[in-house]
Amino acid sequence: MAVMSFITVSLLFALGLFTVLSQRNVFKTVIGLTLMESAVLLLLISWAYIPGGSAPILPLQGKGVDPLPHSFTLTAIVIGACDIALAFAFIMKLHRFERSVNVDDFRRLKG
């Protein structure tokens, strides 16, 4: 169970990293960032799970799962959404100046 989650997390993070490294479209870069963020969220939540545990809503039936990573994840999701919105604003602004969403066309950023 845990090993399965860890394999998925590793592959998902590697897919996101591969996207950021290889693709040249900035929208694809945003997709890669989203995938890496999802991998981290999945890692936290699957780490918090205890076999046979119940949701952390009182009164508990049996033992509960770990509630601390849940609150971290909640924070991370909202901040991630704000990050992505800011990235989209930057993309719109860049497209205004460069008429392109391809990283290779942003020549002026090179030194």
Binding site: Q23, R24, N25, K28, S100, V101, N102
Partner: protein, 108 residues
Amino acid sequence: MIPLLRFLGGISIFAGVFFSFAAVVAILRFPDVYTRLHGGTKALSGGAILILLGAMPYAGGVAGALKLFLIAVFFLVSNPMASHAIARACHRRTLANRPIDEKRRDDV
């Protein structure tokens, strides 16, 4: 009473799965926007609503079943609206009878 309801619920879930499968086949096989939309809406108005109604006897109590029923009613209201909006937008842009085979490529 409850076993009978659960049996009927199982039949309903099975019908919903069939509807969803038919929608997938329709989206893959139909040629243009309108027919694909016609097929695609079946996934929600046929599939999801039947599955929700079928899950009602398993929800454990009247309150849970009522919640599922309310979700089904929400789908019943919102899904025709959404597909109507899509169809109208396609009609406006005169995409309607053009087959979707030509591949649109973005700058990747």
